[in-house]
């Protein structure tokens, strides 16, 4: 059975569709102006809504088939909420999510059921994401059974095949999760996500809870599986080193917004947004000489709360390049060429030509201003 490889129906391309960076074909996933607010309620008998947590606030991005998008940001920046809203595990407040041209938001559970097969998730904590009372065979086989993709006679063979594919042994079929180490449990989680032969896998911090020597094994396994099953990944992590290694493109989030998105090497070598610069500079390099040679840009203060985000540019309270305009007008998401976008009034690492040739990207938030950044303003020392 290879239901997952059935040809997709001809995707409907909307007029506002933005092509992926490669320019070939239709994007697999299109997120436009996605918003997810959580209400803050208070009151003794009647719940009054007293505020909102703006977890995801007008995010747009596209993903081509076979590509890996790295999503980075600090805790509370909304990266996990964005993933869950894309998968419709959370209902979006507004905005649209299209998978192969099909609109996902606003659909009923039943309508979403067949689509769930195409989009799976791998979770961070391999201890919490597996049911301790179920045997491995059941954990990995349940998705197949629920989606009617394997008869009971085939089920065992299929699950054992999957277990071997992720580097476990077919004898592990009857074991319980507690009999495995963290790395092995993450392999079980990967086998479960893979069972339905999805087109896209969202991996939410898949290696963060693992030991250093196991991390490389799992990263390599995910890369092999991507090749073998032509998977598209959204790889969420707070670890920029890991993201740089796995991702084709990187999106950087800060308090519910995408502040920079672009090809992985460009984002890491020539970051445009001061926040990306600070994030890169904060990651210690495991090489004493390289580390000593760097001039770190240490940010003051803490990440603001998404329930009370700063006005206009949300980074202005901690940004060393911030000026008056940053607290007054939200910067638009500007396209600086080669698919490298950033939302900042004082972009870094750009020459005059690139700033002059820049234009506002279609992904820009609806409430953002339309003022283009001026060249030569506020250079921060990087590296």
């Amino acid at each position: 059975m290879s239901a997952g490889t059935a040809p997709p129906e001809a995707p409907v391309v909307g007029p506002e569709t933005i092509e992926g960076p490669s320019g070939d074909g239709v994007p697999l996933l299109e997120v436009s102006h996605l918003v997810k607010y959580f209400p803050i309620k208070s009151g003794l008998l009647i719940d009054r809504e007293v505020g909102q947590v703006r977890a995801v606030d007008d995010v747009s991005l596209t993903l081509s088939a076979g590509e890996t998008l790295g999503l980075v940001g600090e805790s509370g920046c909304g990266k996990s909420t964005l993933c869950r809203t894309i998968l419709q595990l959370l209902e979006p407040t507004s905005g649209s999510v299209r998978f192969e041209g099909r609109e996902l938001s606003g659909r009923s559970r039943k309508e979403l059921q067949p689509l769930r097969r195409e989009m799976q998730m791998i979770f961070q904590d391999p201890f919490a994401s597996l049911n301790p009372r179920k045997r491995v065979g059941q954990i990995v086989g349940d998705p197949l059974r629920l989606h009617g993709m394997a008869s009971s006679s085939e089920l065992r063979a299929q699950v054992q095949d999957l277990l071997e594919r992720v580097g476990l042994s077919s004898e592990h079929y009857n074991r319980f999760p507690h009999e495995f180490s963290g790395g092995q449990r993450q392999r079980i989680g990967i086998a479960r996500a893979l069972a339905l032969r999805p087109r896209m896998i969202i991996a939410d911090e898949p290696v963060s809870a693992l030991d250093v020597s196991i991390r490389a094994q799992i990263i390599n396994l995910l890369a092999e599986l991507q090749q073998e099953f032509s998977l598209t990944y959204v790889f969420v992590s707070h670890d920029l080193g890991v993201v740089r290694h796995v991702a084709d493109r990187i999106a950087v989030m800060y308090v519910g917004k995408i502040v920079e998105i672009g090809p992985a090497d460009a984002v890491c070598e020539n970051p445009i947004h001061p926040y990306t610069l600070a994030l890169l500079s904060a990651v210690p390099i495991p090489d004493p000489k390289e580390n000593a040679a760097r001039e770190p840009l240490v940010l003051e203060g803490d990440v603001p709360s998404p329930s009370d985000p700063p006005p206009a540019c949300r980074f202005h309270t901690r940004c060393p390049a911030a000026t008056e305009v940053c607290s007054e007008i939200e910067p638009p998401l500007v396209d600086y060429g080669d698919g490298h976008l950033a939302a900042c009034h004082h972009p870094q690492n750009l020459d005059r030509q690139r700033i002059a040739a820049a234009r506002i990207a279609p992904e820009t938030p609806l409430e953002a201003g339309d003022a283009m950044p001026q060249p030569g303003s506020h250079r921060l020392t990087s590296e």
Binding site: H245, C268, A278, A282, P286, P288, G301, V303
Partner: protein
Amino acid sequence: MAPPLLQVKDLRVRFVTEDGTVRAVDGVSFDLRQGEVLAIVGESGCGKSVTAQTLLGLTRSPNARIEGSVRYADRELITASDEELRAIRGEEMAMVFQDPMTSLNPVYKVGDQITEQILAHSNVSEHVALEEAVRLLRAVGIPDAERRAGDYPHEYSGGMRQRAMIAMALSLEPKILIADEPSTALDVTIQAQILRLLELLNRDRGLAMIMITHDLGVVAEVADRVLVMYAGRIVESGTLDEVFYDPQHPYTWGLLGSLTRIDQPHAEALAQISGQPPSMLALPEGCHFQPRCPHRFERCMEVPALIERDREGSGHSDRCWLDPDRKRELRQMGDRIGLEVPAA
């Protein structure tokens, strides 16, 4: 050279459990000098935290068997009474833990928790102690310290809680700070702030530090010397540069080779260490790393000693049977250190 501040010799910690005896720490020796930052790296369960906690007598319990020697200022801490240890904790050696939320008491104000510690160890008035607490909070970078001292821990962010923990650890002006994964639970930009603070304390006050971490990036940033632990034993020890640029143990090669770095573009596949870390209840015979080591040979079934490599006394030592010349040949795979590059 001045005598070391702290001398640990052949430290062994065993825990008797229902399933058998766990040799959590198996013959660990090291010196810590004045003003030095020593990093102990290794994966979960390698014994790095148990080593650190044992220094302060925190692993004492009816089912723990602790042997060896920990000497601090002519005092033997392994055999010291609980009372003697209590005088040393905080005043001579203080500890900062990984998770600041669980190490602060949620029902007391932060300032009061620091004040309590000062009052327990010295004869000052409550008022003076509170002033001292505020001064400490200011010194570790808590903004508006006077007011924030009256806040409860939940009103602090993660980074501020860790700063408060450091302030508390510093309150009795210890000579040694033991930091167990102090920045692991924090975001990267906050981790950078905490590491910077620890570096300043080391530089300006000459505070000696033992830094327990699994993150080689953090090690590269703060450490002077490094101990690499695997399954309860030190497998390699040396200066920062020795361990990073001339690593001798295949486990160290594997750790360094399997890292992802932000300053390096996408490699095809990461070098990886195969297999799983061993169960501490059923340790492999001989060299504990031998089942995962691609270079093992017959001799690895015997326990190798921790041997100093050169005679110049730098102290760079490792625990491996391989011939040093052979290691030099093996170590370079392609243009990077590493154990095995998986077949594409």
